[in-house]
């Protein structure tokens, strides 16, 4: 048995031959693990007792009242161990790595959340760990860099290309192909060559399953609207997956609109006239020039700062099943503050894009409708970005005093 390799015309396995056996091995391990009650039991138990699942579904009354539209519920993936949805996938893949007899995990990371999650499960499972992170992201997500090292991981700053998430993926793939027998590559989003997009979706779909049952308990109903931010697409496809077949439920993705629509200023792959490409092992929409060179991107949030999008989301975009909107850096920052002040929840800047989209949509929706917004992560990691953006004078004074403390 094998898993479907394509999502409509997207996805696939566009890799050099030497990666084919490793991807076949991974697919076989995943298929066998899914059927194995022992695997599912240890995964479920670790999700519960280690990661803190189920994460709460929180009725955000203050935000609902403020926006004066539909009811808003927040799925608090931010309350996972390590502060984001990423650990669910990292844990699942670490257990697969153990099954395959691997002794070392490698990962790419943008915001550092996936790297942190991988370093964490590596420590827990007694596996070695190396995390690849673009130089730009090492500089702007330092709290996570420090934590990964504390957990025993090696953090490699990637200086190639745009020095962000895309280049970290390249570096991880290149490291993997040089160490296939010992190493499992824990890809952190629902992208890359088959079977990664499917594996990541399957592990993350626990988000959507919990939402379905929690909302049922709270309201006796199913959701009308689901909102998530979209980097590579793991938290969004995880939330959406169990609801895709129910056409009454509206699905919305928030992409990084950055500083505006000019090339290099955003990571909104599905706005304007999206173009398909074959990059990093899969076919999807990519931000690229007319010659097929991948373009630079910008987002205030490192986790959304990526030129491609998971192939399954590309397919649902083409089918019109999911609606994608661009949220600017400024809108995200405003939503970040709004949620902090109204609900006492500081979201990750990535998740703040979803909040901003919800704030755009909710006021126009019937008051009786139910909307769930995925708070994919918490905002602590963004200190170096948000403190500078929102409170620059005091932040600089603090940094200055730190530097001179011992002099």
């Amino acid at each position: 048995m094998t898993l479907p390799r394509h999502f409509g015309p997207f996805g696939g396995r566009y890799v050099p031959e030497m990666l084919v056996p490793a991807l076949d091995e991974l697919e076989a391990a995943f298929l066998a693990a899914r059927q194995d009650p022992a695997f599912n039991k240890s995964f479920d138990e670790l999700l519960r007792h280690y990661c803190g699942r189920p994460t709460p579904l929180y009725p955000a009354h203050n935000l609902t009242r403020h926006l004066n539209g539909c009811h808003i519920f927040l799925k608090l993936e931010s309350l996972n161990h390590t502060g984001a949805h990423k650990i669910t996938n990292a844990l699942g893949q670490a257990l697969l790595a153990l099954r395959m007899g691997k002794t070392r995990l490698i990962a790419e990371t943008g915001a550092g959340q996936h790297g942190l999650a991988t370093a964490t499960v590596a420590a827990r499972c007694g596996l070695g760990c190396t995390v690849f992170m673009g130089e730009v992201d090492v500089a702007r997500q330092y709290p996570n860099v420090f934590a990964m090292r504390l957990l025993g991981a090696e953090v490699v700053a990637v200086a190639d290309g745009t020095r962000t998430l895309k280049d970290a993926v390249n570096a991880a793939l290149k490291e993997w192909v040089q160490h296939l027998p010992s190493t499992h590559y824990v890809l952190g989003s629902a992208l890359g060559p088959h079977p990664y997009p499917t594996i990541v979706r399957e592990f993350q779909s626990v988000i959507g399953r919990e939402v379905a049952s929690q909302l049922q308990t709270l309201t006796g109903r199913k959701p009308d609207h689901l909102v998530a931010c979209v980097g590579g697409g793991s938290n969004s496809i995880g939330l959406f997956a169990p609801f895709l077949d129910d056409r009454e439920i509206r699905l919305y993705g928030a992409e990084a609109g950055g500083r505006g629509p000019a090339p290099g200023e955003h990571a909104a792959r599905l706005q304007g006239r999206p173009t398909t490409g074959i990059v990093q092992g899969y076919k999807s929409y990519f931000l690229q020039d007319e010659h097929g060179q991948i373009q630079g991107t910008h987002s205030i949030s490192a986790g959304l700062d990526y030129a491609g999008i998971g192939p399954e989301l590309a397919w649902h975009f083409q089918q019109g099943r999911i609606q994608f909107s661009a949220i600017s850096d400024d809108e995200a920052l405003a939503a970040y503050q709004l949620l902090a002040r109204l609900e006492g929840i500081i979201p990750a800047l990535e998740s703040a894009h979803a909040v901003a989209l919800a704030a755009r949509l909710a006021p126009r929706l019937p008051k009786d409708d139910l909307m769930v917004v995925n708070i994919s992560g918490r905002g602590d990691k963004d200190l170096f970005i948000t403190a500078r953006a929102l409170d620059e004078a005091r932040w600089r004074a603090f940094l200055h005093s730190e530097v001179h403390r011992d002099q």
């Binding site: 031959e17 173009t275 490409g277 074959i278 010659h291 097929g292 991948i294």
Partner: protein, 258 residues
């Protein structure tokens, strides 16, 4: 019309041919042209021209940096093919092969790309991240129709069942890596790599090109009798990056005279 790659491999004057690699436009057009001339003068008859790409997945640091430098200098796929066409016309004894990553032909349109390669005098196309079992794998048929060889790249970890699928579709030669990894000069050739070539030999009638890691004339000598072609990429590019074009000639002469 006969393919020049076949001619080179059939009338091989030496027990092993060299295939060298340049990144189009790197470090600049003038040096790149001089480099190709040097290679031809030193006896190279197979020459791989890489069209630079932002995300060269199979390449190590040397070639990745050269791709980036060429892109920074504004090299476009059309420029690279035009330049290659001029080189191919000036050096009729050399078989030129176009190497790049899937997104470049995909963006150009696969048919247009094959046409453009053909017009630029290419004898073959190497696309390491475009497997034949994906829909765009049809480029291989298209290339063959136009008299170009789609060159498949396999590796020592390619399983027997996969070889059964791939080998019947290969043409011109089969390009195998000597290690499972990325491009880059190595100090030694592993004995396992040489043993692997012997087993590959027994599975195919096609000429075998072996590369990834070759950095010394002794490596080339060791491949003699085990492969028809030794591929040297990163090592020479490393010399070019250091600005040492004359060392390229010395190296190639040492390889061909051993």
């Amino acid at each position: 019309m006969t393919n020049k790659l076949d001619t080179v491999l059939q009338t091989a004057p030496r027990p092993i041919q060299l295939m060298t690699h340049v990144v189009a436009g790197y470090p600049d057009w003038e040096t790149c042209s001089a480099l190709v001339q040097t290679m031809a003068r030193s006896g190279v008859r197979l020459l791989e021209v890489q069209l630079p790409f932002t995300d060269p997945l199979a390449d190590g640091p040397t070639i990745t940096a050269a791709n980036q430098a060429a892109l920074d200098a504004g090299v476009r796929p059309e420029d690279a093919l035009k330049w290659m066409g001029e080189m191919a016309a000036a050096l009729p004894e050399v078989a030129f092969l176009v190497m790049t990553y899937a997104n470049i032909p995909y963006a150009m349109g696969l048919s247009r790309f094959v046409d453009a390669c053909c017009r630029a005098g290419a004898q073959g196309i190497i696309l390491p991240d475009l497997p034949l079992d994906e829909p765009e794998g049809t480029y291989a048929e298209e290339a063959r129709r136009q008299g170009l060889h789609p060159i498949l790249v396999i590796s020592p970890d390619t399983p027997a069942a996969r070889l059964d699928f791939l080998l019947p579709q290969a043409s011109g030669m089969i390009y195998t890596t000597l290690k499972v990894g990325i491009t880059g000069a190595s100090k030694d050739l592993a004995p396992a790599s040489l043993a692997y070539l012997e087993t590959l030999r027994r599975r195919t009638q096609l000429p075998v090109a072996a590369g990834f890691g070759i950095s010394q004339p002794e490596h080339v000598a060791a491949l003699r009798g085990r492969a028809e072609v030794a591929v040297v990429g990163s090592h020479i590019l490393g010399l070019v990056t250091r600005g040492d074009i004359s060392a390229v000639e010395d190296f190639l002469r040492a390889c061909t005279s051993l």
